[in-house]
Amino acid sequence: MSEHIDSIKTYTLIFLALLALTFITSTVAYIDLGPLNIVVALVIAVTKMLLVALFFMHVRYSTKLTKIVVAGGLLWLAILLLLTMADFVSRGWLAGT
């Protein structure tokens, strides 16, 4: 199994991208976007997570099995969030009765 090594340039670019996204997060925190506040914050967070996983953690160049493991972890997180939200979202449905 050959190890892929990214160039210094790629690492620097990713690092700068992460810094930029952090800057955006803190700047956006001062602007009230209403219901979009949480959406913007989460989109930025997920993007940063993907950059770290794909490049710094080398998932992009890893074997299929590693990719399956990463996808499995995300799928399980989705199960936790989705089924918990199934409760929270539908809790008020009976309020009128």
Partner: protein
């Protein structure tokens, strides 16, 4: 003289001596024995708390302990038995010892990580025991908020920290098993030649790795709220108490399968060996373990039917909970089908396997009662639930653990245990278990709530039966402890394959050499191929 004969050959037990050779060992077999000693101590302690609970419940009045002490007793019983005994029980002892040997490997993939995981269990256990000696904890093993995060004046943080640390032991064991099964199988050991014990431990490991971190996060959040008043679960701080239950049961329901799946693996081995037949529907039994691991993550909401969870979510969780019964039933039916026309022998391990099949089936079927939205409202937080999960965890897991211990004891120690005493102990455990827990189904259905030590006098007869059963059960558990220890010195020497079983672990000597095999094994036939074994014996 016997000892002298055993000492002639070098094996993992006499390869080196001294405390250091054990405490710094990287041999998975020695680490398994370290685990065995540790969890036996935890089991004894958890059992002591159970004994005090049962003695208190002999009479309707509070006479042995106060309400506060009683709350601490059932909490410590649950915490120790679940997190420090049942979760590590089969994987960390029998799994640790036999998973590498069964796939023809020299050790686990990460031997140092394996040792670290034992130290983490000990550290977690000491932390929890420290909390206990300092004054205990009274939240119940489930640590429900906001009681645990705001109101309880007991040692919640210290106990939870112990569980947090022990959780990492479980994650590391899971990780080690997964990598070992993927990377270290002997030549010819394909996935569909793996013994079913390996399949079930693999499925268990998936749950350990995917579920346990969520428990760790949940514990940290309780700590944040309790120490720094950050509102997560407490409504007064803007939190949601039901969120705790979602997160807790996201781990703790699959944890039930962490406890029972390895037991199912043991039973598959026992049923095959003592029926002298390949397990009927091998592929179905193997995949049903994985199906249980996956489906087990979709059902946690059935613990929240009366906790203020939305009725619609409740309906979804109820529906999904029924699904888990399917792979469990596949296993039970396939074990039964394996017995059909098998050449059955009633050795001690098989008696435990029979016990498991019957008791697990009762535990599983009463689980369906609890997954039904309507019935669950009636029996929530009653002794019906207590009886149900003890049928799974004690009637299931513990029976399988004891069955496995008897089955593999000759391999682990090189000694045979006294068969007559062992058969008697299996019978005593089975009778004692049913006398303890069957009355609890009736008690619960009649309305006896769990976690109360004062109850209406009309329940006393059933409580007395249950306590009487518990004392029988205690005798049943003490017997193996005594004769196993006795056998270490006086037991007959065990041959390499005392049961005529097929697995790779029976092809190496008893006890095995440090690197498990004299020659690296090559696998040429599928698991449980008794015809091939017979042929080899005839050729030999």
């Amino acid at each position: 003289m016997i000892t002298a004969a055993l000492e002639e050959r070098e094996h993992y037990l006499n390869a080196s001596y001294g405390l250091k050779s054990w405490l710094l060992t990287k041999d998975h077999k020695r680490i398994a024995l370290l685990y065995l000693g540790t969890i036996t101590l935890f089991f004894a302690l958890g059992g002591l708390f159970a004994t005090m609970i049962r003695i208190e419940l002999l009479t309707p009045q509070p006479d042995l302990v106060s309400s506060e002490t009683y709350n601490k007793l059932f909490t410590m019983h649950g915490v120790i038995m679940v997190f420090l005994f049942l979760v590590p029980s089969i994987p960390a002892t029998l799994g640790n010892f036999f998973l590498p040997i069964m796939i023809g490997a020299k050790d686990l993939a990460f031997p140092k990580l394996n040792l670290l995981s034992w130290y983490l269990l000990v550290a977690g256990g000491l932390c929890t025991l420290g909390a206990m000696f300092a004054g205990g904890v009274d939240t119940g093993w489930t640590f429900y908020t906001p009681y645990s995060s705001t109101y309880s004046n007991t040692y919640v943080i210290a106990t939870a920290l112990g569980i947090f640390i022990a959780g990492f032991s479980s994650i590391l064991t899971g990780l080690n098993f997964i990598v070992t099964v993927h990377r270290m199988r002997a030549p010819g050991m394909t996935w569909f030649r793996l013994p079913l014990f390996v399949w079930s431990n693999y499925a268990t490991s998936l749950i350990m790795v995917l579920g346990t971190p969520v428990l760790a996060v949940t514990i940290l959040l309780v700590g944040c709220e309790r120490l720094f008043h950050i509102g997560i679960f407490d409504p007064a701080l803007g939190g949601d108490p039901v969120l705790f239950q979602h997160m807790f049961w996201f781990y703790s329901h699959p944890a039930v399968y962490i406890m029972v799946l390895p037991g199912m693996g043991v039973v598959s081995e026992l049923v095959a060996t003592f029926s002298r037949k390949r397990v009927f529907g091998y592929g179905f039994v193997a995949f049903s373990s994985v199906a249980i691991a996956v489906l087990g993550f979709l059902v946690w909401g059935h613990h929240l039917f009366v906790s203020g969870q939305s009725v619609y979510a409740g309906m979804v969780f109820s529906f999904l909970s029924y699904f888990v019964a399917v792979p469990s039933a596949i296993k039970v039916f396939n074990w039964t089908a394996t017995l059909y026309k098998g050449s059955i022998s009633y050795d001690t391990p098989m008696l435990y396997a029979f016990g498991f099949i019957g008791l697990f089936t009762m535990g599983g079927l009463t689980g369906l009662f609890l997954a039904a939205l309507g019935i669950d409202v009636h029996v929530t937080d009653t002794y019906f639930v207590v009886a149900h999960f003890h049928y799974i965890m004690v009637g299931g897991t513990l029976m399988a653990y004891l069955g496995g211990m008897h089955y593999w004891w000759p391999k682990m120690t090189g000694r045979m245990y006294p068969e007559g005493w062992a058969k008697l102990s299996a019978l005593v455990v089975f009778l004692g278990f049913n006398l303890t827990f069957f009355p609890q189904f009736v008690l619960g259905y009649l309305g006896m709530p769990r976690r109360y030590h004062v109850y209406p006098p009309e329940f006393q007869v059933l409580h007395v039966m249950s306590t009487a059963g518990a004392s029988v059960l205690a005798v049943g558990y003490l017997m193996p402890l005594v004769y196993f220890l006795w056998s270490l010195r006086y037991g007959k020497l065990a041959p390499a394959n005392p049961w005529g079983a097929t697995g790779l672990e029976w092809q190496t000597s008893s006890p095995p050499p440090t690197h498990n095999f004299e020659e690296p094994p090559v696998v040429t036939h599928e698991a449980y191929d008794f015809a091939a074994l017979l042929e080899e014996a005839q050729v030999g």
